[in-house]
């Protein structure tokens, strides 16, 4: 599918499962990697939830539980020179890009050795050497940043592609519009990934927009838009991987809407009683880790025992990491004013 003409044309919805299917075994490492990413992400989130309830984490905890497939698949589909701008539900992007789980715990615990040296907390971090931007809270604001980053890399001769994430709620911001239009005008290869997880905090999608699907917005920018099952990492990978290769070669932005569900409250302080239990059940039955595990078993990539030992290894890694981070010191308050400005 490196030939652009084989891509389903503009503003047609395409289910990930329709995408041209690469033979499974050829990509074994990637598939196992995706499962590992999801497991690391999930166990990290679960531990963060506990640490929050135990009072170790200040501020709040926002988890990606139930949405790990998206980060796992889109990081597997990228290359080292690519740029990512994860948001609030993208723990799997961080770990999928190779940020260490230890750094994640340092960040949430506000340790002096955290990626932001304790200056920022929770989801507001990213490792530039891994091509990951550190988000700001203002929704939509990171989208043009990725566009500019990719433009710069390309101008400097690096064939980067961008991966920009946004929620159903964030799609109502002016920045969403400005950034996508900007990318379109300059043919910047960025994949705008809309994670439609049905809620923005307490507000259901019916209160956010009136189009049928958010990719109905793609033609308004002259983009191709794709619908995908956001809980099926393998299928999503098979959609995104060739698309990324294609836009790398023939630069242009595209839009993918992932159907998924936020399986926890907005943050762990939120009991999300406003979400109908039926809706949660429907997606609980399609937990991305279970979906991927079943695929991998069915397709003969991994045995149940192999999955079990991968699971245990990831859990052990996360346990070790959080214990290590717990024992690390907070930042030195004398550093408060360091780095407000860069050295000239």
């Amino acid at each position: 599918m490196t030939d652009a003409t084989s891509i389903t044309p503009s503003h047609r919805a395409l289910n990930a499962s329709d995408a041209a299917c690469t033979p499974v075994n050829g990509d074994k490492d990637r598939y196992v990697g995706m499962l590992r990413t999801m497991l690391r992400s999930r166990f990290t989130d679960e531990r963060l939830n506990r640490l929050y309830k135990q009072g170790h984490i200040t501020g709040g905890v926002y988890s990606s539980i139930g949405q790990e497939a998206i980060g796992a698949a889109t990081t597997a589909a990228g290359q080292p020179q690519d740029l990512y701008a994860p948001l609030i539900r993208n723990m799997a992007v961080h770990v999928g890009r190779g940020e260490t789980v230890l750094d994640v715990f340092r960040q949430w615990l506000g340790r002096g050795g955290s990626p932001t040296r304790g200056r920022d907390g929770n989801i507001h971090y990213g490792t530039f050497s891994h091509g990951v931007y550190a988000m700001i809270s203002h929704l939509g604001a990171m989208l043009p940043v990725v566009v500019g980053g990719v433009m710069a890399r390309r101008r400097l001769g690096v064939d980067a592609v961008g991966f920009a994430y946004i929620g159903d709620g964030g799609s109502s911001t002016g920045d969403f519009h400005e950034a996508i239009n900007f990318a379109a005008v300059f043919s910047v290869p960025v994949i705008f990934i809309i994670e439609n997880n049905k809620y923005a905090y307490s507000t259901p999608i019916a209160g956010q927009f009136r189009c049928e699907r958010l990719i109905d917005r793609a033609p308004g920018y002259g983009l191709e838009g794709f619908s995908a099952d956001g809980n099926d990492a393998l299928a999503l990978y098979r959609l995104v991987h060739p698309l990324a290769a294609d836009i790398r070669a023939k630069p242009r932005p595209i839009m993918i809407e992932c159907d998924t569900m936020r399986m926890r409250g907005h943050g762990e302080h939120d009991d999300f009683t406003y979400v109908p239990p039926k809706l949660l059940e429907r997606y609980r039955a399609r937990d991305p880790i279970a979906v991927a595990s079943n695929h991998l078993k069915a397709e003969g990539v991994l045995t149940a025992a192999e999955i079990e030992s991968l699971t245990q290894a990831c859990q052990a890694e996360v346990d070790l990491a959080y214990r290590t981070a717990m024992n690390e010191p907070p930042p030195n308050p004398d550093t408060l004013l360091d780095g407000v400005y860069a050295n000239a």
Binding site: T58, G110, R119, H124, G169, S172, A200, P330
Partner: protein, 325 residues
């Protein structure tokens, strides 16, 4: 009289104005059935219906622009920002649109923007900002910042009935950290009236928002430990601010410390200091001092934020310095 929290007083004020004035509508992100991120609006949608209390998509500029449209056509909209920090996506609607409209056309724009601000709870750089200096620089905009439950309720009434755009700053730290007995009916409280929280002879602290409480602590500690007796002025309104009360306090103590939680350079304290320097020059026995946050983003880690944010201990030592100048 029951004791209620600062946020409960705001909520009560909202119920009162909406009961009294059918032209008041309220909207924002998650303010409906959910009651808002801080629960300031809990129960309002139930009583007033979805026509008057409703959730919006995430679009601060449209939210403010819609309010301008409503305010000019007979309603009195109240917009809740989830956090004050997010208004930076929409300042053209405030400064350029709402703030200039009456001046340009003579049409009143009665709208209130409720903006939860301030730090002290590890909110990090994007959920802790204090942007009052930016709002106060804007012609045509009024800015208030209550420090006590009763003032919050009373100023809310005034804000909603004012015919100009009002930025109503609420302090998140105070939301649940401060209680006060509250009478059955609200008292009229015009804008531009400071409150003298205590009278002392040795120095005056001029402050507002969460720092009022810190200053009152500091004043108590100081009189116990050193015998120094402090006047504490809570501005309550920042634009307009109460020049008479400031002048009287300066005249009676001759020493002034200004305290706020916002950044130093071009902070609101600079305006007060400049005003005093210009108008009370002959009354001063010592330079006007400012105790503020430093010029850096609000840090997340508690030890950093502790260093960043003024508090009663820092106020005590700044006052000792000032008095012993």
């Amino acid at each position: 009289m029951p004791e209620i929290t600062y946020i409960e007083a705001i909520r009560q004020g909202l119920f009162e104005v909406m009961r009294a004035h059918p032209d008041v509508v309220l909207y924002g992100e998650d303010v409906g059935a959910f009651g808002g991120a801080f629960k300031a609006t809990l129960g309002l949608q139930k009583e007033f219906g979805k026509e008057r209390v409703f959730d919006t998509p995430i679009c601060e500029s449209a939210m403010l622009g819609v309010a301008i449209g409503m305010a000019t056509q007979g309603l009195r909209p109240i917009v809740e920002l989830q956090f004050a920090d997010f208004i930076t996506t929409a300042l053209h609607q405030l400064l350029n649109n709402a703030g200039t409209l009456h001046y340009r056309t003579g049409v009143p724009v009665p709208m209130v923007i409720r903006a939860p601000c301030g730090g002290g709870f590890s909110g990090g750089p994007f959920h802790s900002e204090e942007l009052e200096a930016i709002f106060c620089h804007m012609p045509g905009i009024k800015v208030v910042y209550p420090a006590f439950p009763c003032d919050a309720r009373n100023l809310l009434h005034t804000a909603v009935m004012d015919n100009s755009p009002v930025v109503f700053l609420e302090n998140k730290y105070l939301y649940r950290h401060i209680k006060e007995a509250i009478p059955a009916k609200h008292d009229p409280l015009p804008f531009g009236k400071a409150r003298i929280c205590r009278n002392g002879r040795d120095a005056t602290v001029i402050t507002y928002g969460a720092m009022v409480n810190e200053t009152l602590h500091a004043a108590r500690d100081l009189i116990d430990d050193t015998g120094y007796d402090i006047t504490v002025v809570d501005l309550r309104s920042l634009k307009p601010y109460d020049k008479d009360t400031i002048m009287a306090a300066v005249a009676s103590t001759n020493r002034v410390l200004i305290v706020h939680e916002a950044w130093h350079t071009c902070g609101f304290g600079a305006e007060i200091a400049a005003h005093i320097a210009e108008n009370a020059f002959h009354l001063l026995d010592a330079p006007v001092r400012r105790l503020t946050a430093p010029d850096c983003p609000v840090p997340f880690a508690p030890v950093l934020e502790e260093r960043y944010r003024p508090n009663s201990a820092k106020i005590v030592s700044a006052l000792v310095d000032l008095i012993e100048y």
